[in-house]
Amino acid sequence: MSAGFFDNMAPTARRSLVVTAIFAAIAVVIYLFCLQPCESQLARARRTLAELQGRQSQTNGDLRSAGTVKKDLADLEAALEPYEEAMLVPLLESYAMRAKTILDPIALGAGLEDVRYTDEPFRALPLPRPMPRQLHTRAAVKVMARGSYQQAVSFLLRMERELPLVSLQQFEVASQSTPEAQSVMFVLEWPAKGGLTRK
């Protein structure tokens, strides 16, 4: 086969062949350098658009629920308020000092004497699932005093009435020489803020 064969081709056929070859080459160039890159870009753009549309629908959904979220938050804060008020907060880094400020009037009112307050070990509360970031705990304070059984019970009654979230963990009444001067011991629990589960 020699180029003579090409030369012997009819001029119109040769022209046709050249035109076909040129346009075929152009078609290949268009496909490789225009179409394929464009398709890749379009695929990327579509993926980006899909992600953005996802985020948009998520955002719109969140914003639509803003009212509900706000209401829920308000409800929760209202529900937490009694606990916040009842929470034992240390005074001068001492829970016993805080308890003294709260309980002294009640003890005095009940007639107990020689009231002393000491810190007791805290007890952990069970965990909800999932865990909150801010844990709460059972802050314990030991109260020792002298008084009668009735005075001790009176103290407990008044305490339960005025501090409904304070719980009696331990109790001891031991008789002394006189019934009016019995040794009374209470270990009272308050809700208190505990540690953080995560930063």
Partner: protein
Amino acid sequence: MNSSSLHLNLLRPSERLSSSPVRMRVMLPVGAILSCIGLLVWWGVLLTQLVMTKAQSAGIEEELSAKSKEHSEVIRQRDLARELKLQLEQLEFYRAGVRSVAEPLARLAEVVPLRVQLKQLSFTPPPRQVLQPPGMKAPLFGPTENVETQKLVMAGLTTKETPVVSLMESLEGGFERLVTHERKINSFRQDNAEAEGRKLLSFEVEYTMPERRFAK
């Protein structure tokens, strides 16, 4: 015998033309040109789609950026609500375990018989919380159990067993917040103390108190 021996054909095969209206000489270039045009049109369509997609994306990004502050606030509130809900749940565990025994303790004094002298009334300490069981590298954030059980111990002196039995019978009804039916007589013996010329009996009774359940 055939006529091909007499067919002196001066026309070359390459010069023969086709009578078919479909000429490859025309169809192939036309096909190539149409292919190019088709590819260009296709490219145009893709470019248009690309521009529209990018414009859509830009619009959405702009919208998201405008709403980002408000959205962040909603997310913050939602996270806070979630946190507070969990805190409330734990505090409600606490509330469920609050013990109110003042009233039964007050009535206890009324049901103690005359011939019984209580020397001591106490709750046993709650069970120790083990927050780092053996083998665990880090302490737990909370107890593994949510129930605590304590005992109520009554110790005193009496003249005879009947008043103690009476006392125990009295405690069987109306004192559910203070004691359960589970009781144990730890001791019942003669004491050195005397009254009315008789030796007194000392007793110690232990009642299981209602469990404190820190759960909803």
